[in-house]
């Protein structure tokens, strides 16, 4: 599903002394079927932006169109309910939303609410739990006895179980170890290849999305500061740094090599091996001339 923001503004605590404008007339389009990275400094409005996509927040001004549905300041709550069945959302620290007696019950909470029959969804649970990298034996344990990383996966499985057409993840890898991060990203990549859904990942860490995002949006102070192909965005290091973003170490190394050797890399997310191959190839090329 395509998502279009048109001059969307949002103000928290409107009409109180604590009023806080978190989005300023944001206009952008998230094309259908892509993986989009939303990056930006803390407090730049990333979470606020993505919570408009499943109607958790309604714009104060402007509108958001998700597929066929439009949400504007006047949209009724009833109409939004349908939207939620198509848009899955994994929040920052999703493990805080676990509540059922067993992991299995927690996973099927979403689909049951959407009206799927218990039998039907229970058949899919073993597949889901495997996909998120958990052991099937955990299904009948209390979710509160899992480790932090396992909880995170169980919570993600609970959202994937709803089989959404748009999947939003707000910092899905926060406070995981590097291996855990990598595994979550891999899982998203596979899920995307299989279902071809639209995935939106909010993150501080460009490196972790560099491999999988095709588009990137950079937020700054409630506005969109940069947007476009992920590769092109990651190349503009000066601007990213000016927006207070930390550049991924790999990108720094590659760009340094590129400047010193004059090799134009084909991508900014090359593995060290590939980068070495390209440097060698370009040297050979130069000698031949």
């Amino acid at each position: 599903m395509r998502i279009v923001f048109e001059k969307t503004s949002y103000t928290y605590m409107e009409n109180t002394p604590l009023e806080k404008r978190a989005l300023h007339e944001v206009s952008t389009t998230f094309p259908s079927g892509e993986i989009i990275a939303v990056i930006g400094r803390t407090g730049s409005g990333k979470s606020t932006l993505v919570q408009h996509i499943n109607g958790l927040l309604r714009p104060s001004q402007g509108k958001v169109t998700i597929g066929e549905r439009t949400v504007d300041p006047k949209t009724k709550k009833k109409q939004i309910q349908k939207l939620r069945e198509n848009v899955g959302m994994v929040f920052q620290y999703p493990e805080h939303q676990l509540f059922e007696e067993t992991v299995e019950k927690d996973i099927i909470f979403g689909p049951l609410n959407a009206g799927t029959s218990e039998q039907q969804i229970k058949k899919q649970v073993p597949m889901l739990i495997q996909r998120v990298g958990l052991d099937e034996s955990l299904l009948h344990q209390s979710p509160f006895h899992l480790s932090g990383g396992q909880m995170r996966r169980a919570a993600i499985a609970g959202v994937l179980a709803m089989n959404p057409q748009v999947l939003i993840l707000d910092e899905p890898t926060a406070s995981l170890d590097p291996k855990g991060k990598q595994e979550i990203i891999e899982l998203l990549k596979e899920w995307h290849e299989e279902k071809r859904l639209t995935i939106i990942i909010v993150t501080h860490d460009m490196e972790e999305v560099a491999d999988i995002a095709s588009r990137a949006v950079v937020m700054h102070d409630g506005r969109i500061a940069m947007e476009g192909h992920a590769q092109e965005i990651f190349e503009q290091q000066g601007r990213l740094e000016a927006l207070g973003l930390d550049l991924p170490p790999r990108l720094k190394v590659l760009s340094y090599i590129s400047v010193k050797t004059g090799v134009p890399f084909s991508s900014w997310s090359l593995s060290p091996e590939k980068a070495a191959t390209e440097v060698n190839a370009s040297r050979k090329g130069n000698k031949d001339v």
Binding site: N15, T16, Q51, G88, F91, P94, Q97, G110
Partner: protein
């Protein structure tokens, strides 16, 4: 849903009330609460209204903000009113609804109790809205000091209060986050059948409590790790200062309270 809860909220500012000593404010609020409980005639409530509105006017807190924050409490107030209106059997019968008769005394009682609740919340909200939590607990601790002789753990009580006050907004923020997360999973808090709503409530309360206990544990550990061992010989970073205007403010409230007591008959 919880956007406008003002209980325990502090609104930084620079009004006369903001600048008053926390102890003076506590004394004044105690007096006002007493007055609110003593008032039981229309003249009494009229005077309470004038007094409270006066205090609000020097607080610099926008009226809209207060009223919005009192909205959830309004339900309680209306409920109390209805209960009294229907169950008190004094005065003349005004109307009959089914098996119930409404008496004039019931309406009056209902209005009084409703107003009483309203003013109680208003006055205490004005206190917390204009006093930072630290000042509030410091003030409380000092006022409880004399009771230490009788075994009242003044410091501990103050600490407990300050922690509770400190975490009320956190709890609401957390609740809002969990509500969002469960709503995204299709939980129905405001629509749906009784069963669905109950289910939604459970999906909110279980994580909320688990997080609260976890946080309490973390806090206790962190305090112990930093060598906290009760209030013995602790000094304050910021001392409260009692000025002449604090004495005057307290006197004004006290004199008004006494006057009201005679005036309302």
């Amino acid at each position: 849903m919880f956007k406008h809860i003002i209980i325990g909220q502090y609104l930084p500012g620079n009004s006369f009330l903001h600048r008053m000593d926390a102890r003076a404010k506590l004394i004044a609020v105690l007096l006002m609460i007493m007055v609110i409980f003593l008032a039981d005639t229309w003249r009494g409530y009229g005077a309470v209204t004038v007094g409270t509105v006066g205090v609000w006017m020097i607080s610099g807190v926008p009226l809209r903000y207060i009223l919005k924050g009192m909205y959830p409490i309004l339900i309680l107030i209306v409920g109390t009113f209805l209960l009294h209106a229907f169950l008190t059997q004094e005065g003349e019968v005004i109307a009959t609804v089914g098996a119930f008769s409404v008496y004039s005394g019931g309406i009056e009682q209902g209005l009084f109790i409703g107003l009483r609740l309203f003013f109680l919340v208003l006055v205490t909200s004005l206190l917390t809205l204009t006093t930072s939590p630290i000042d509030l607990t410091d003030g409380l601790e000092q006022m409880l000091q004399p009771l230490k002789r009788f075994g009242v753990p003044a410091h501990e009580v103050a600490l407990m209060m300050s922690i509770a006050i400190r975490f009320i907004p956190t709890l609401f923020q957390e609740a809002e986050k969990i509500i969002k997360a469960q709503t995204a999973r299709g939980a129905k808090f405001n629509s749906g059948s009784m069963k669905q709503r109950t289910q939604a409530m459970i999906s909110l309360l279980v994580p909320l409590f688990i997080r609260a206990f976890k946080r309490a544990e973390d806090l206790a550990l962190a305090m112990e790790a930093r060598g906290y061992n009760g209030g013995e010989k602790r000094t304050k970073l910021r001392a409260l200062t009692w000025r002449r205007k604090d004495t005057i403010a307290c006197l004004i409230v006290a004199v008004s309270a006494v006057l009201l007591f005679f005036f309302q008959r």
